[in-house]
């Protein structure tokens, strides 16, 4: 997994070690996809419970990859989203953390659907290949290509104009 934050971080063998090492980047990525830090925290928790049910992983298992795939699959799970629609969280809709850092990109990402944002995060930020993303989400490679093409076209004007 090229460029993954966790790849260079030594961690112990326990689930607790894995939790400490992997939770931060997992929440960060989930927050970019679902655009809600609370929901991202929830999803990360659910993902780690799934991991706990399988722990210990075999040595050849790439823990970060497993977490990323399961977490992002959950993030685009339509049934889970529909359940959330019936509930209005009593809290501020706080996007200030994103608006302070890069409001243009945040808004542009908001025009994409979750699966496209997930594909962008996995490929552009974490270096997964399109084949790997296709396998992770159970869709043909061409579908991932079309998601990414759509996503890139949406952010291209932003990156070309501002170029920062």
């Amino acid at each position: 997994m090229e460029g993954a934050i966790v790849a260079t971080r030594p961690i112990g063998d326990s689930l607790e070690d894995a939790f400490r090492a992997h939770r931060p980047w997992l929440v960060q990525r989930l927050a970019l996809v679902v655009r809600d830090v609370d929901e991202a925290e929830d999803l990360a928790q659910v993902t780690f419970v799934r991991a706990a049910e399988r722990w210990p992983f075999p040595p050849e298992q790439d823990v970060a990859r497993w977490l990323a795939v399961v977490g992002l699959r959950l993030a685009i799970d339509e049934r889970r989203r529909r359940r959330r629609w019936g509930y209005l969280p009593i809290r501020d809709g706080d996007e200030t953390w994103a608006m302070k850092v890069d409001p243009d990109l945040w808004r542009a990402l908001g025009t994409l659907d979750r699966r496209t944002r997930a594909a962008l995060v996995l490929t552009v930020l974490d270096g997964y290949t399109q084949d790997e993303v296709a396998e992770a989400f159970g869709v043909p490679r061409g579908t991932v290509s079309s998601w990414l093409a759509r996503g890139r076209e949406r952010v291209r004007p932003l990156l070309e104009v501002r170029g920062r």
Binding site: D77, R79, R82, R84, W85, L105, L125, G138, G142
Partner: protein, 414 residues
């Protein structure tokens, strides 16, 4: 700008955004100690909402003046009412201090979950209701709220799974807590601040009318996804008008267009489940139609391998125009070449795919939205969109497996 340059810039900016995400303190085991009847809650989320099970629930409504009797005038009623739902050793009780309230008087409703079994205690696994516990509350009828319009108060949970110990000596009780959403959430609807102000006010007030207020307890025993118990207890509460009468006319009905509501179909055979859903029923002509299938395995094995006759995977899509002649095949082939692994409890989400669909009865309008567009766009009309999974669990496809075929109806408006 080349794609590589674009990706490099995008990566740098995504990285900055990711690093700005405000992270909460990492949850630890035994993170919360709750005072009162809920003895202990620890951070152990899971798949509560995906558990499948049926329970028999007995609901008993007890009115101060007799079972099922509607509330009388406000001046003659000052006694409490309660309703109990029983599910094995569990009891869910909802109580109100009065059967009839004045208009806009605070409605005092409390629900309690109790364990009446022989064990010294039982650990239940549940999502978090609005009040942070295993109980959720709602009102069957939409409520007219000044400044907001109609609000649907629905008992809902956040998708977490925490555990609580239910002690036979101490019921777990919570006052009514609001959760829900305005009926009109569109651009012309109420502002977020108005809605937040309403839901942040913990006091429930209702206009004159007859209201059905309920509490829900949805939990499992034996772990997240274990034996599920889903209980609901309901009260009928009257709110009197200024003249003391209680309007019997039905409260206003929601004005939400059913076409804006999510739709879905859910089919299951044994441990295999196939769902099909769309965020809403109605689409405009030219709008991309978002349809997603979910194929899940909920059995005891870590995973199963499916062997099927479609080279495109375990799920094939199809559509049929209900007010026209267009229909498609489902893109399957007659061999046994395709195999997929379904991991337990990790449903795979598959967006509608046009690949390999043969189309009959189509006109020019249809083809304009079909070729060269990865999204599904359909001409004006009513469309049945379906997904089919038909596979075998035997490598040579010799043993028939589940055949699931959920479908939903989409309306494409001009």
């Amino acid at each position: 700008m080349t794609e590589q340059d674009l990706d490099l810039r995008l990566r740098a900016r995504l990285d900055r955004l990711a690093n700005a995400v405000p992270l909460a303190e990492a949850a630890q085991a035994s993170t919360q100690v709750r005072r009162g009847p809920v003895v202990w809650v620890r951070g152990l989320p899971g798949r509560l909402t995906l558990a499948i099970g049926l329970v028999a629930t007995v609901a008993v409504a007890v009115w101060a003046g007799g079972i099922g009797r509607p509330p009388g005038p406000a001046s003659t009623n000052d006694q409490g009412i309660e309703s109990v739902s029983i599910d094995g050793p569990f009891e869910l009780t909802i109580r109100s201090t009065k059967a009839v309230y004045e208009a806009d008087e605070p409605i005092e409703v409390l629900a309690a979950l109790a364990y009446r079994g022989a064990a010294p205690g039982v650990v239940i696994f549940h999502g978090l209701g609005v009040a942070g516990g295993p109980l959720a509350f709602g009102v069957v009828e939409p409520v007219e709220v000044p400044g907001i319009g109609l609000v649907e108060l629905v008992g809902g949970y956040r998708l977490s799974c925490v555990s609580s110990i239910l002690d036979p000596a101490a019921d777990m009780s919570e006052p009514f807590a609001k959760g829900g959403h305005p009926v009109d959430e569109g651009p012309g609807g109420p502002s977020f601040e108005e809605v937040q102000r309403y839901f942040s006010d913990r006091v429930l007030r209702l206009p004159p009318g007859t209201w059905h207020v309920y509490a829900v307890a949805d939990f499992s025993v034996g772990g997240c996804g274990g034996e599920r118990h889903s209980m609901q207890a309901e009260l009928t509460i009257g709110v009197a008008a200024a003249d003391g009468s209680i309007p019997t006319a039905p409260p206003p009905t929601p004005t939400a267009d059913p076409g804006d509501l999510p739709i879905g179909a859910d089919t299951q055979e044994g441990p295999i489940q196939l769902t099909l859903s769309s965020p809403h029923r109605d689409y405009r002509a030219g709008e991309a139609i978002d349809v997603i299938a979910g194929l899940g395995y909920w059995g005891d094995q870590p995973s199963v391998t499916t062997y099927g006759s479609s080279s495109l995977g375990p799920v094939a899509f199809w559509l049929r125009q209900l007010d026209g002649d267009v229909q498609t095949g489902s893109g399957g082939t007659a061999d046994c070449v395709s195999q997929s692994v379904l991991r337990a409890n990790e449903p795979v989400q598959l967006p509608f795919s046009k690949a390999a669909l043969s189309v009959t009865g189509a006109t020019g309008d249809f083809w304009q939205g079909w070729h060269g567009d990865p999204d599904l766009r359909l001409p004006t009309g009513t469309w049945e969109i379906g997904a089919t999974t038909e596979f075998s669990l035997a490598p040579d496809c010799s043993v028939p497996g589940p055949v699931l075929r959920p479908s939903i109806t989409i309306v494409v408006l001009p």
